[in-house]
């Protein structure tokens, strides 16, 4: 591990690699303006310590964003070919059944993914600010090792900015990028994660050394007047000609932390109900469609789904199928079956969620009607003709959970067209888009068939 000290990420000015003469010639022929640019960095705060503080925050929090993102992919049920992107080759996640308990599982993992991701934007920008002089360094590299490391930094920085940009645009319904969000965000995350692992493995020793160089607790007591530049470092993060401080280090950290809290406060409302929802002032889900019992958000309107009111009127029938057994029930027949009420969240990939009280028929009771007590999976189809989410496959645990319902009513009133009238699926901890609305049929696969 000690050998790190002489690597490009090490503490001593690295020597030139092969071909030595070539690298040296590059170093000795800087383009005009490099000297001016080097002296233009003025902030006395830049240095390994501040970079390491921001780095440490990201080191602790980014894995949470990465893991919750992967859990989201898993929650979509890749085993049934309904997680996007479909075909992820070697980057496949282990096949596990997504649990139905706790019922708030997806609400929390996805809310955390989005909210934390947004809260980290200021930290990422601050971290980039702290190291940006490196971008304009001359020579740009002294060896092949440094060239490669710079290229992985392109993957690292490009990766995080790409994930932030696509994520922010997706959760605000502005698909300016013109490519498939799932494909881009999933594979972009892997590129970023791989570059992050390499970066952390190389830089962790520096982070530890830098943080030890001035104990955090003591540094947090230093005001602006007492703020001094760090001693010159081999990486050249510390300015060659620093100006007077306009802010202390603790001030800079408090500023970034404060911005993070501000963004969090403007985001978390989309995962809360009641008056709190309106605190998401600038987000689509800060809006409540109306104040009535069905005035909670939807992820697709009946109009957008192309639902013909004629198909959801008295002529509507729910078709249940298991093997060669078929039953067709109208809404009155469904309402005559034992009704169960459950308080369950609807949670979306965009991070918003809402907790509501649903009433309807247990899915396992419907399975029993066609003799599929030993259900293995259920394929739910919507009246919606087109659209990625006009069908969903539920695993056995999702059909059999006592709170898994074909909901007919919500908060004591009938469903509205936008909420899936005449009937919709609601399953604990299942992503909202798989809680199929405007259900036309459910086909049960039997375990022993």
């Amino acid at each position: 591990m000690r050998s790190d000290d002489t690597s490009p990420a090490g503490h001593h000015p690295p020597g030139y690699g092969f071909p030595r003469r070539g690298w040296r010639a590059l170093a000795e022929h800087p383009p005009p303006g490099v000297g001016t640019a080097t002296r233009a960095w003025r902030s006395p705060l830049r240095g390994p310590w501040l970079t390491s503080v921001y780095g440490l925050v990201l080191l602790v929090t980014l894995p949470l964003v990465i893991v919750t993102g992967l859990l989201d992919h898993l929650a979509y049920g890749p085993a049934y070919g309904q997680a996007f992107p479909y075909d992820v080759g070697w980057l496949r996640l282990p096949a596990v059944d997504w649990p139905t308990r706790p019922s708030w599982l997806f609400r929390v993992t996805q809310g955390l993914h989005v909210t934390l991701g947004i809260m980290l934007v200021p930290v990422v920008l601050a971290k980039l600010w702290s190291v940006i002089p490196k971008l304009f360094d001359w020579p740009p590299a002294r060896s092949v090792a440094q060239v490669l490391e710079r290229l992985t930094l392109l993957l690292l920085v490009g990766g995080i900015l790409f994930e932030i940009a696509t994520g922010l645009l997706n959760m605000q319904y502005a698909y300016l990028f013109g490519f498939d969000f799932y494909t881009a965000h999933y594979f972009g995350a892997w590129v970023f994660t791989a570059a992050l692992v390499a970066h952390v493995a190389l830089k962790l020793p520096r982070l530890v050394t830098a943080l030890r160089s001035r104990p955090v607790v003591r540094e947090l007591t230093v005001g602006r007047a007492g703020t001094r530049p760090e001693p010159p470092d081999p990486d050249g993060l510390v300015a060659a000609a620093p100006g007077d401080p306009t802010m202390s280090r603790r001030g800079a950290i408090a500023l970034v932390g404060g911005l993070s809290v501000l963004l969090g406060a403007l985001t978390v409302g989309q995962s809360l109900d009641g008056a709190w929802r309106r605190t998401a002032l600038l987000l689509p889900r800060g809006r409540q469609p109306d104040d009535g019992p069905t005035g909670f958000p939807v992820n697709r309107s009946a109009l957008a789904a192309g639902i013909d009111p004629a198909d959801t009127g008295p002529a509507w029938r729910l078709t249940l199928r298991a093997g060669d057994r078929t039953r067709a029930l109208d809404r009155a027949a469904l309402l005559a079956l034992p009704q169960h009420t459950a308080r369950l969240p609807i949670a979306c990939v965009e991070g918003w969620s809402t907790l509501q009280t649903w009433t309807g028929v247990r899915l396992r009771d419907l399975a029993a009607l066609v003799g599929a007590e030993d259900v293995d999976a259920a394929r739910v189809r919507s009246l919606e003709r087109a659209g990625l989410f006009n069908r969903a496959t539920l695993a056995a645990n999702q059909v059999l959970d006592p709170d898994s319902l074909l909901a007919l009513r919500v908060n004591g009133v009938d469903l509205t067209p936008d909420h899936g009238w005449p009937a919709r699926v609601i399953v604990p901890a299942l992503p909202g888009v798989h809680c199929t609305k405007w259900v036309a049929s459910i086909e049960f696969d039997r375990a022993t068939a």
């Binding site: 050998s3 790190d4 002489t6 690597s7 490009p8 990420a9 020597g15 690699g17 092969f18 080759g89 920008l125 980039l128 600010w129 002294r142 060896s143 092949v144 090792a145 490669l148 490391e149 290229l151 992985t152 392109l154 920085v157 490009g158 990766g159 790409f162 645009l169 605000q172 319904y173 502005a174 698909y175 300016l176 990028f177 013109g178 490519f179 498939d180 494909t183 881009a184 594979f187 892997w190 590129v191 791989a194 570059a195 692992v197 390499a198 493995a201 802010m247 404060g258 501000l262 963004l263 600038l282 987000l283 689509p284 469609p289 939807v298 697709r300 309107s301 109009l303 957008a304 936008d418």
Partner: protein, 150 residues
């Protein structure tokens, strides 16, 4: 190894790992008709940050510092302008689609509601941030003045 490559073998292995994943992903999405756009956004994000966003905010900050020289006595107004400006700028960037009302059709399909640009809200938020910061500055000035007299 070290003399030629410029780092220990471990370094090369870590680099190879990162490139292997990136290369594999690239090969994977190469067949997508929109692969070029994805690549453009990936590289474009770096360029937009490093060569547009950073120079813009650094230049703005430099201009601000030149105008708001620290007074001989009392608190400097610099950070009382900087902080709300930074917060307002960040909010604008993060919630850009909402502030400008972008993606009306997808918004309507998803929510069943019409998207109205929330520029007014953002301006109010910005005004509130500057106001709070200005009040704090007035308070600090008053205190500095008061304490000097006492």
């Amino acid at each position: 190894m070290r003399a030629g490559y410029g780092a220990p073998l471990r370094h090369l292995l870590l680099m190879a790992g990162a490139f292997a994943v990136a290369g594999w992903v690239l090969a994977r999405i190469a067949g997508e008709p929109t692969a070029g756009r994805m690549l453009l956004w990936f590289v474009g994000a770096v360029i937009a940050h490093d060569l547009v966003l950073f120079p813009v905010y650094a230049t703005a900050d430099r201009a601000l510092r030149a105008r708001l020289a620290a007074p001989a006595r009392g608190p400097s107004p610099l950070n009382h302008v900087r902080v709300p400006a930074l917060a307002a700028g960040l909010i604008f960037l993060v919630y850009l689609p909402g502030v400008l009302g972008l993606g009306r059709d997808t918004y309507r399909a998803a929510t069943g509601l019409e998207r109205e640009p929330l520029l007014g809200r953002w301006l109010l938020l910005t005004a509130a941030l500057f106001l709070a910061s200005g009040l704090l500055y007035a308070l600090r000035r008053w205190r500095a003045h008061h304490l000097r007299r006492v």
